[in-house]
């Protein structure tokens, strides 16, 4: 049962990724403006040279051949050579992906750690001050663009000088010793993680509260109250469990928002993540890098949704009987 469920989900995700790869490949390959176009303007470079360079990079073959070659390579973990740097794309993207994931996963965990207790608290005590303030507070945060939050925090960090703003390590590069490096990196992570957390918390908090409130209206809650189950136990053991279903799917979805926001944060704060790499690749039309980063970002999302599905299977008995 579990096996067929996982197999179906996996197959779905795979097909989605294949479709995305085909679409993005097609779209970017038929785009006007090629990587070597600028060289044509240079009188010192002969057309033959450009032809040879195109030949060397395999840019003269027909489209299906190029896609087949790219997809075949991608399956073996070879995403081709970057046109700009001439090194395997994966060598460029993997360390940066690790850095981006470091930010997004930390922010995701932090956001959930903040939102679950706050959501339970405000749903359980709808008349408390915190609950009444949380509505306007979340809608204020929701409409603040990330660019503004990022800008203000960045300026604050620069003005006060308490936190490093920009980069992953202090000037002078990665400090010697693992502990020192981790300490330095985590100090640098503070501002970007804060920005990302602020970007997801309002939506998450709202959904947690709404899910809990709707679950608490169920007849079983009244029955449990009548049986004398204490409030704390009722909320944490019973209502939270029923409300978990939409929240778990939301977790998969919130990965999407986080990945988009992290692009902005990476660029603004000089965090060596996927953002700056992608932006540069877009600017110079380094197609293999653009496609690969796009695929990687889709992979995060699909993986997030898959994880949510599996978690849902583990938590919700209703799905198992389907």
């Amino acid at each position: 049962m579990l096996k067929s469920y996982i197999a179906r989900r996996l197959l779905n995700s795979m097909l989605l990724l294949v479709a995305i790869s085909m679409l993005s490949f097609l779209f970017l390959e038929i785009a006007p403006g090629r990587f070597l176009d600028e060289m044509r303007l240079d009188p010192r470079v002969s057309p033959d040279t450009i032809y040879a360079m195109r030949q060397q990079r395999g840019m003269n073959d027909p489209l299906p051949v190029r896609y087949g070659r790219w997809a075949g390579g991608a399956l073996r973990g070879d995403f081709g050579l970057s046109l700009a740097y001439g090194v395997p794309v994966l060598n460029l993207a993997l360390p940066r992906m690790r850095n981006t994931l470091l930010l997004t996963i930390t922010a995701l965990v932090l956001a959930w750690v903040i939102c679950l207790p706050c959501g339970v608290w405000t749903a359980a005590r709808p008349r408390s001050l915190a609950a009444r303030l949380s509505g306007p507070f979340t809608s204020l945060l929701l409409s603040v663009p990330e660019l503004l939050a990022a800008g203000i925090l960045l300026l604050l960090a620069l003005r006060t000088g308490y936190f490093p703003a920009g980069g992953m390590f202090s000037p002078g590069g990665r400090p010697a010793g693992t502990i020192r490096a981790v300490a330095d990196a985590s100090r640098h992570m503070l501002i970007p993680v804060l920005i990302l957390t602020l970007a997801v918390v309002p939506l998450l908090l709202r959904h947690v509260r709404a899910a809990l409130e709707s679950a608490s209206g169920a007849p079983f809650v009244q029955a449990a109250r009548g049986l004398g189950i204490p409030e704390r136990r009722l909320w944490l053991r019973h209502i939270l469990r029923v409300a978990a279903n939409p929240l778990i799917s939301l977790m998969g979805l919130s990965v999407a928002g986080l990945i988009s926001s992290s692009l902005l944060v990476d660029v603004l704060l000089g965090w060596p993540g996927l953002g700056p790499l992608f932006l540069d690749a877009v600017a110079v039309r380094d197609t293999p890098v653009v496609i690969s980063v796009l695929m990687l970002s889709a992979l995060f999302l699909v993986a997030g949704n898959l994880a949510a599905d599996l978690l849902l299977y583990a938590c919700d008995p209703r799905i198992r009987t389907e």
Partner: protein
């Protein structure tokens, strides 16, 4: 009652900002591209920088066009001959920041609105077709929507921008940017509308009309599409600020309408040189307008949503 008040407040804030932006030429004392190189990074409320003039109401100054048709040169305020007035200071090229914020809003807000209109139109057409006809059409369209939703929107937007030419005139770039944003954002409204249409087509009066031999076109335009207006309106309230932000981000990354044409994104791009923004906070001036505008739109959208929920429940 409170909801009504909120609707009024939010609506008037949004309307006021739109008026400011539509008639930006009148409220902006200077041509946003005019450079006053002798006075770069002037602090806000720099009046009379040259020493022999003063600020005046209703002056004549640079020529602008109202709504793209009527040429006019009357301004709300300006400096008398020989003087200068920079209410929000100037940028590193000595361009008046207030004029750049107001005129930049024209690009950003118009691009966001066009994009939202396009996304809603595509969403309406695809969602209605998918929901009404079902079967293979539905399957294909919804798989396509899933494809668009499976990519983080900022990555999708930038990749789409990468696939299109970038050496264009400002007008072409503007249309291109607006249509990319709209074309990448149709999936979410399409899904919502499909859901609505699915339930709408099973209503009894629709079955009755079908029984009387109504054509598909009649059913769609008369009975089914009108049911989606509420959702379309709410979605517009959500999508417009989101797409304004998308244009701002594209311009911020240097992929939108290029200099010297002002846009909120390119005006804000000084944030990428944080030290400049620390010393000259008025480089963040577009946010002074963006924040109330976004707050207003969000309040509008959430009030509309509550109304729709109350109406249906």
């Amino acid at each position: 009652m409170r909801a009504r008040l909120r609707l009024w407040v939010a609506g008037s804030v949004v309307a006021a900002i739109h008026v400011l932006i539509v008639f930006a030429g009148f409220f902006a004392p200077y041509d946003p591209t005019e450079q006053h190189r002798e006075i770069p990074l002037a602090t806000p409320f720099t009046i009379n920088a040259k020493g022999d003039g003063r600020a005046e109401w209703f002056t004549t100054g640079w020529r602008y066009r109202v709504l793209g048709v009527v040429t006019c040169s009357r301004h709300l305020f300006g400096a008398s001959a020989g003087g200068q007035v920079f209410v929000l200071g100037t940028d590193p090229y000595g361009r008046d920041q207030l004029s750049r914020v107001l005129c930049g809003g024209q690009i950003s807000v118009l691009a966001g609105s066009i994009a939202a209109f396009l996304a809603l139109l595509l969403g309406l057409v695809f969602g209605t077709v998918a929901g009404f006809y079902g079967g293979w059409t539905d399957e294909i369209l919804m798989r396509l929507a899933e494809l668009f939703l499976a990519l983080p929107w900022l990555y999708l937007l930038l990749a789409a921008r990468a696939a299109l030419p970038d050496s264009l005139t400002p007008g072409q770039t503007f249309l291109l940017v607006a249509s990319i944003i709209g074309a990448t954002g149709w999936a979410r409204p399409a899904r919502l509308i499909r859901g609505l249409v699915l339930s709408a087509r099973e209503r009894e009066y629709v079955h009755a009309a079908r029984g009387f031999g109504a054509s598909h076109w009649y059913l769609l335009t008369r009975h089914i599409v009108p049911e989606t207006w509420g959702v379309l309106l709410t979605q517009a309230g959500i999508l417009i600020p989101q797409f304004i932000m998308a244009e701002v981000l594209l311009a911020f990354f240097g992929l939108g309408v290029g200099e010297p044409v002002p846009s909120w994104g390119s005006t804000l791009s000084y944030l990428r040189q944080p030290w400049l923004a620390v010393t000259a906070w008025w480089m963040l001036a577009p946010l002074l307008v963006m924040l109330p505008l976004f707050l207003g739109y969000h309040a509008l959208a959430s009030t509309l949503q509550q109304r729709a929920a109350a109406g249906s429940g």
